[in-house]
């Protein structure tokens, strides 16, 4: 856990809005070591997607430094970004697995796209697509299907497979399980846990502490654009230090608390009857 794949420090991002500026991130810092799994938790508007988009070069930071695999990228030009992206070091898995696949392209075309952009020959790219499809546990038969013909869980795996095909050192997953039903969610988390064993660093972005707590080594909590907590996952869950993280832990729904609620309701029903 020595080398850092990603190091973000003092990151400020402002969005220009009518009648002023919006602080999306306030001196946010985050670092991810090789092979580490980090959860980034925050509510809607807390800046977690902005953080990811800034790391990917889609949003320009106002201040701060970003280092990717030892390379400082903060002042990169468009051309430099393109060159960096073509190395496929950092990959991103979008929140919505249906909309992040071109509906007119077959699974195979979507999968090999990052490789073709790198200039790899189509035949070699297809071989690697087959390999990566096997890795995410999908049938090679799916290669010639369109995204609309796949189930939600299958699409999710395809999107992850596309991220893995360039052999990235860091994969950022934006709400990887929130679009799935609960059975698929468990399956997806299990599969992502295995992925972790492959040595790729993962960053999970989620609003739901529960879906990340079981898989992350470390959890960073974002609140109103600030990183209010960045500690080992166990510590955050067991002993949250910030007021907001305490709220998160309390509000996580569990079957145990649901049982308590039901008991309370039943009690009330009995008394009123």
């Amino acid at each position: 856990m020595s080398e850092k794949v990603l190091d973000v420090s003092g990151l400020d991002v402002h969005y220009r809005r009518r009648g002023g500026r919006l602080h999306a991130l306030r001196s946010a810092s985050l670092s991810v070591a090789a092979g580490e799994t980090v959860g980034v938790i925050g509510e809607t508007g807390s800046g977690k997607s902005t953080l990811a988009r800034t790391v990917l070069g889609l949003v320009r930071p106002t201040a701060g430094r970003i280092t990717i695999a030892g390379q400082e990228v903060t002042g990169f030009s468009g051309r430099q970004w393109k060159a960096l992206r073509r190395q496929g070091i950092v990959q991103y898995v979008f929140q919505d697995p249906l909309r992040s696949l071109d509906p007119d392209l077959t699974v195979a075309s979507s999968l090999v796209e990052p490789l073709l952009i790198q200039g790899i020959r189509a035949a070699d790219a297809r071989t690697r697509a087959l390999a990566v499809l096997d890795r995410v546990g999908l049938d090679p038969e799916l290669l010639d299907r369109l995204p609309g013909e796949l189930s939600g869980g299958q699409r999710q795996r395809i999107v992850v497979a596309r991220a893995l095909i360039t052999d990235p050192r860091l994969v950022i997953l934006d709400e990887p399980v929130s679009a799935l039903d609960s059975a698929n969610r468990v399956r997806a988390l299990e599969f992502l846990r295995q992925l972790r064993l492959g040595g790729t660093a993962l960053v999970f972005i989620s609003h739901d502490l529960g879906s990340v707590a079981g898989i992350a080594d470390r959890i960073a909590v974002l609140y109103q654009g600030e990183v209010v907590e960045d500690r080992p996952a166990r510590d955050v869950v067991v002993n949250p230090s910030h007021e907001y993280s305490r709220l998160l832990v309390r509000s996580a729904p569990t079957l145990a608390s649901a049982a308590r609620h039901r008991a309370a309701l039943n009690g009330k029903a009995v008394t009123t009857v």
Binding site: K82, S100, I117
Partner: protein
């Protein structure tokens, strides 16, 4: 796409009619039974075995004139459409990618073009550039290009913000790659719908201009010209305008039908388009023609 259009009844009828019109344009002048310019002493004759559709006020065979005139009418419509595609659709797609300055300038140009009255402008330019169908159609093409610009731009914008395009950006794709791989396929169906509709408009405009005597020198036969000649002698031959009218109507109707079929075949992509008919300032007058 073509297969899906052919699967629809409306698509088959539309393509059938349009194919006939195109064949008329190619072979019409060759199969015309008589010289379309030859006059005879048979003035305003009723339809007969010799003159299937009768003769006009100079004794010219109407059928021959209509057949000979179809080439000019079709060529005019095709020119309008080609012009609108090149001047409208291509900059429409590029406006999303070539930076703010290009976007701003093209948008203002399009606004300007929309404000110009259609037929009047065409008349003015033919007065300036010389009387000819190519000149007139050049202008008309230019004036319908805003529709194509808007359609192409709207479709491109919808795709440009989609996660799969961002995924390509993150993979290091160039603009050319993104347009070729992701944008073009999504922009083509709505453009095809607009195209079919504009072809109909093109026919009407050619007919209107030739009806007004603009774009062709008098003896040369056109659909609109035949119609204009017939209208002058309505009291002698009240049925005469029917033939050119049916020809013009059938063609325009087939174009609109094809637009509908294309829209249905391409799913939701072009659905909003049919409500947005092209602006046409000379509309009421043209309908009379």
């Amino acid at each position: 796409m073509l297969r899906r259009v052919l699967g629809l009844g409306a698509g088959r009828v539309a393509l059938g009619v349009l194919l006939t019109v195109v064949l008329l344009a190619i072979f019409g002048p060759l199969v015309a039974p008589q010289d379309p310019l030859a006059t005879s002493t048979d003035l305003l004759a009723a339809p007969s075995a010799h003159h299937w559709l009768g003769t006009d006020y100079l004794g010219r065979d109407v059928l021959s004139r209509l057949l000979a005139g179809s080439r000019l009418s079709v060529l005019g419509a095709v020119e309008v459409v080609a012009m609108a595609l090149v001047v409208g659709a291509v900059p429409g797609v590029l406006s999303v990618y070539l930076g703010r300055a290009f976007e701003w300038v093209t948008l203002r140009l399009v606004d300007t073009l929309i404000a110009l009255p259609f037929l009047v402008f065409a008349v003015a330019v033919t007065a300036l550039l010389g009387n000819g169908i190519p000149q007139a159609m050049f202008v008309v093409g230019l004036l319908v290009s805003p529709l194509f610009y808007r359609v192409a731009r709207a479709a491109t914008l919808a795709v440009a913000r989609s996660p799969y395009v961002e995924a390509a950006v993150i993979a290091g794709a160039s603009v050319a790659w993104i347009v070729r791989k992701h944008v073009w396929g999504k922009v083509l169906p709505p453009i095809a719908v607009a195209l079919a509709q504009t072809t109909g408009v093109g026919f009407v405009v050619v007919a209107s201009l030739t009806f007004l005597g603009i774009g062709v020198r008098p003896p040369a036969p056109t659909w609109g010209g035949v119609l204009a000649a017939d209208l002058g002698f309505l009291s002698y031959q009240p049925y005469a305008p029917l033939a050119p009218i049916v020809l013009i109507m059938a063609t325009v109707w087939a174009c609109n039908l094809l637009a509908d079929a294309l829209r249905d075949a391409s799913g939701v992509a072009g659905r909003a388009l049919v409500l947005r008919r092209p602006r046409f300032s000379g509309g009421s007058r043209v309908k009379e023609a």
